[in-house]
């Protein structure tokens, strides 16, 4: 009886419906929680580029974010964009950097997150720029925070989709991120030179300078992806950065 085709078809149909229903239920039930996890993760990453979040958890991160981050969106010309083509306001946190990555650089929306003292929007302490690129196995992305000189890296936080755990996935490790701190993206004549990760690890200190950092052993291709990502994104942002640099220096000149 159990070997008849009808039995097999009915059995398979019931199994599929039960399994499918169960998964749909789980997906719907867990969705709000998952979305919160993702939101928390993004905000923690943005903040993580500037502040040490050790010990801060959950809603405290979201509160801190709301207090101290002002987000704007610019284009590759450095102009602030507030509305999309349909006239809807653009929310910088909701700008999908991954989707924009597929557009031509000129059409991309580029969010900038300004970190300021809690409550005082004018006292900007750091600028956080999202970056996105290709690692070895899949996309890598992150947030790089620059000091108010818009040149020195204040901090960073990176993430990846599927880099090898222990190798390429180490781009998320604090000791790797620390290598970027204090490095400079532009040279003394304001040309973009970016910060490059070298091949191999434990390179002699003579090879490391303002624009070069030690690499990741066994993850040279991920490191190359990082280099390409940082260089290309700061090229897109360079218009915005140059504008704000000059405005910063003029205010300084006036003050003098």
């Amino acid at each position: 009886m159990q070997q008849s085709n009808t039995y097999i078809i009915v059995f398979s149909a019931i199994l599929t419906i039960v399994c499918g229903g169960l998964l749909a239920l789980a997906n719907q039930g867990l969705k709000p929680r998952q979305e919160k996890s993702v939101e928390l993760d993004t905000k923690a990453k943005i903040l993580g580029a500037v502040v040490d979040l050790k010990g801060t958890k959950g809603d405290a991160i979201i509160d801190l974010y709301n207090e101290s981050i002002e987000a704007i969106t610019v284009n590759s010309e450095g102009e602030i964009i507030e509305k999309d083509e349909k006239g809807n306001p653009i929310i910088a946190e909701k700008v999908d950097v991954a989707k924009n990555y597929k557009l031509a650089p000129k059409e991309r929306l580029l969010p900038v997150f300004k970190y300021h003292k809690a409550g005082d929007k004018n006292a900007v302490e750091a600028y956080v720029f999202p970056v996105y690129g290709k690692g070895l196995w899949g996309p890598i992305w992150g947030f790089i925070a620059l000091e108010t000189d818009l040149n020195t890296i204040k901090g960073a936080s990176y993430d990846h989709k599927s880099e090898t755990p222990g190798l390429g996935a180490r781009i998320t490790a604090p000791d790797v991120i620390d290598r970027y701190k204090g490095k400079k993206l532009f040279n003394s004549s304001d040309q973009l030179v970016s910060v490059l990760m070298l091949k191999g690890e434990k390179n002699p200190a003579t090879m490391l300078d303002d624009h070069h950092i030690d690499g990741l052993s066994g993850a040279t291709l991920t490191a190359r992806g990082m280099n390409a990502m940082i260089e290309s994104y700061f090229e897109y942002y360079s218009a915005y950065i140059n504008k704000n640099k000059s405005s910063a220096s003029t205010t300084m000149a006036i003050a003098q």
Binding site: I8, F11, L15, A26, L30, D159, K161, P165, A169
Partner: protein, 222 residues
């Protein structure tokens, strides 16, 4: 066309204790003398891939154990209803359902680990231990026995990958559960071996574990 596993005679004793001697064997055997990784050499892929650090390994171990236990239980409960011609597909569908559930729960509550384990959670579906236990045991045994068998195999898998991860994280990055051991005992200059971070390191550790185990048990591959 029924398989031999289906016809395995089941001992009939009035109210066998929940953890009788026979049933304890289901748990104890996979821990050592019939370990899924070191003796049956199944599930090697994930044992190499996720064992660079303790924390993701622990999550992986828990996930695999849960998937084995629950799919064993479910398959065993419906074993007399499953048409034998499509039993592999049925097993696969059930394993896939549990794995997806685990992955959704991880995404909601352990987002960091979910990202770190990435594809390997989904790949539990293809872990030979899970399908192997379903086909070899759950299809022919009662639910409670199958749960114990699944638990045994899951724990056998878990302790091996945790042992591998312990040595790989310790020797490869100098940490245990992300806690810097060598710094804590005052050996902060201790050289870490980046070979341990690569899958090759897992082969070495696994080989040494198998060597020690077989020297002790006298097991010889025939």
């Amino acid at each position: 066309m029924s398989t031999e596993t289906l016809e395995k005679p089941i001992e009939k004793k009035p109210a066998e204790p929940l953890f009788s001697k026979r049933r304890k064997k289901y748990i104890n055997d996979p821990l050592s003398s019939d370990n899924p990784i070191t003796i049956q050499v199944l599930g090697i892929c994930s044992a190499l891939a996720v064992t660079t650090q303790m924390r993701p390994t622990l999550i992986m171990a828990i996930s695999v154990t849960l998937v084995i236990v629950f799919s064993n239980l479910l398959i065993s409960s419906i074993r007399n209803l499953v048409p034998s011609r499509v039993r592999i597909i049925v097993q696969l569908a059930i394993v896939a359902t549990f794995v997806t559930l685990v992955s959704e729960v991880l995404k909601a509550y352990q987002y960091d680990m979910y990202k770190q384990l990435s594809v390997f959670v989904g790949l539990i579906i293809t872990n030979c231990i899970v399908m192997g236990r379903l086909e070899a045991f759950a299809m022919g045994n009662k639910p409670w026995d199958s749960v114990l068998d699944g638990l045994g195999s899951g724990l056998g898998y878990s302790w091996i990958i945790l042992a591998v991860a312990f040595f790989r994280e310790l020797l490869g990055s100098g940490n245990v559960f992300g806690w810097p051991v060598f710094d804590a005992i005052g050996l902060s200059g201790f050289p870490t071996n980046s070979l341990m971070v690569t899958p090759v390191g897992a082969f070495f550790i696994l080989g040494i574990i198998i060597w020690v185990q077989r020297t002790k048990s006298g097991y010889i591959e025939r």
